[in-house]
Symmetry: C2
Subunit: 267 residues, 2 copies
């Protein structure tokens, strides 16, 4: 980094005359006044943040009954969630064959933002009775502690004997051989608390899938259509707006002024 | 990508019985109802965005008189802006020696968000009379057009003869030799419209420096202190909150729910 070009000041350091000192004093006063003005600006910023948070909380509450209704409807569609996950490019990349089988028992997903949105969120995965584990709900939760550090916690999975999909050398999977380069299991994510501040899968589910899971579910329906299975109940997909709705969650606009991420990557 | 595990449906495609058809019909109805619910959620999201935009606009207006007052005070401090720029790690990296000299004539910086914040911003750079160019103001402006595509435009710089800092082979710079590996000039940025959607310098100035330029100006004052120039007018920096204030612009909170960027990089 280059040094500050405050030539006039540093040059005169050993022979200050009265005029220099007066100028220094005036500058110092100006700096203190700027600091006061800055404090006022900071207060306004805090107030703005609080108001925006209240708007977000209000709409989170308003959205709840619709999310509930959506969950009830999704419950009528077998394999809705596993299909949505398989059709999401990033999530799909995290699923091996065994994961997909186990996720056929995933009956309900819930994303909960904590009351103080800044402090985190939780994702609940409800499972029907299944051969893999005895939990009927798995949850992973992300939050910031009082010092602002991110952390996560999750439900320990109670695997049935020989069914632990997170163990690569799993031999109990009757009739199924896992290839040597088999990828890590989706379910390993529950035990991975290494990057709670930027948990990729958590954020994809919260920000991309949860705002509009139907578009990902339908992506497969359309694939099946064009695959020519003769069932054209669903060929009127013109009914469904598929224009990147996942991007349209309520906070999108607010990002326009807050795109610090790019910069921090350079720093 | 794995295929959708909708086994029950595709298996039965050639021997639908009445029960199958009834189940298909119910699922199709559920999908249509989910789509309706989704439309309601989308409407709520749009309303939330509008309300958040209004809050941001309100606070932008409330901040204006403080920004004006801050500009007036900054005008009393010689070399304020060049010092702040030189002390900002990312901006500093864009400045060569000639840029730093020219920027000593930069008397005022203004960041203006357009009324519809989504549509863009402008940065105005006011210059005292200087040997480099005849403009008293250079501006660069970023906006989204109606189709949402980003673009930028800027003031053509009226360089004095032989003073064009954007020309690497500039020979008119009396007594100064530019080394062969001399970096591109800061002023080239005005003519660079290649990445208007994510203009790095524009966003650093708008989101990082503009919210609190004093912290960057002071970074150099403190450096000079510890450099031992014997002038300790400013050793009481305890007066100034330097805890990353640049991050505290009003929209920070709103980002918590909208961190799609990371995901898109993977997609």
């Amino acid at each position: 980094m280059a040094t500050a070009p405050k030539v006039s000041k540093t040059d005169g350091k050993n022979n200050h005359d009265a005029a220099d000192e007066q100028a220094d004093k005036e500058q110092q006063e100006a700096i203190e006044q700027i600091d006061e003005v800055q404090n006022e600006i900071d207060k306004l910023n805090e107030n703005a943040s609080e108001e925006i948070l209240k708007v977000e909380q209000k709409y989170n509450t308003l959205r709840q009954p619709y999310f509930q209704k959506r969950s009830d409807l999704i419950g009528k569609i077998p394999n809705f969630w596993v299909t949505a996950f398989v059709n999401h490019p990033q999530v799909s990349a995290l699923l091996n064959e065994d994961d997909e089988e186990a996720l056929q028992y995933l009956s309900k997903v819930e994303v909960q933002e904590f009351e103080d949105i800044k402090s985190g969120y939780r994702i609940n995965f409800y499972f029907d009775q299944n051969p893999y584990f005895t939990n009927d709900m798995l949850t992973k939760e992300f939050h910031l502690n009082d010092t602002g550090d991110p952390s996560s916690q999750s439900t320990p999975i109670k695997w049935n004997e020989g069914k632990d999909l997170t163990k690569k050398t799993n031999n109990g999977n009757k009739g199924k051989k896992r290839s040597h380069d088999d990828q890590e299991s989706f379910f390993s994510w529950f035990g991975d608390h290494g990057d709670a501040g930027a948990d990729e899968l958590g954020e994809v589910i919260k920000d991309d899938i949860w705002p509009n899971p139907l578009q990902y579910y339908l992506a497969s329906e359309i694939d099946e259509e064009t695959g020519g299975d003769g069932d054209d109940d669903l060929d009127d997909e013109g009914n469904f707006d598929e224009d990147e709705e996942g991007e349209e969650d309520g906070e999108e606009e607010a990002e326009v002024e807050g795109e610090e991420e790019d910069e921090e990557e350079e720093g």
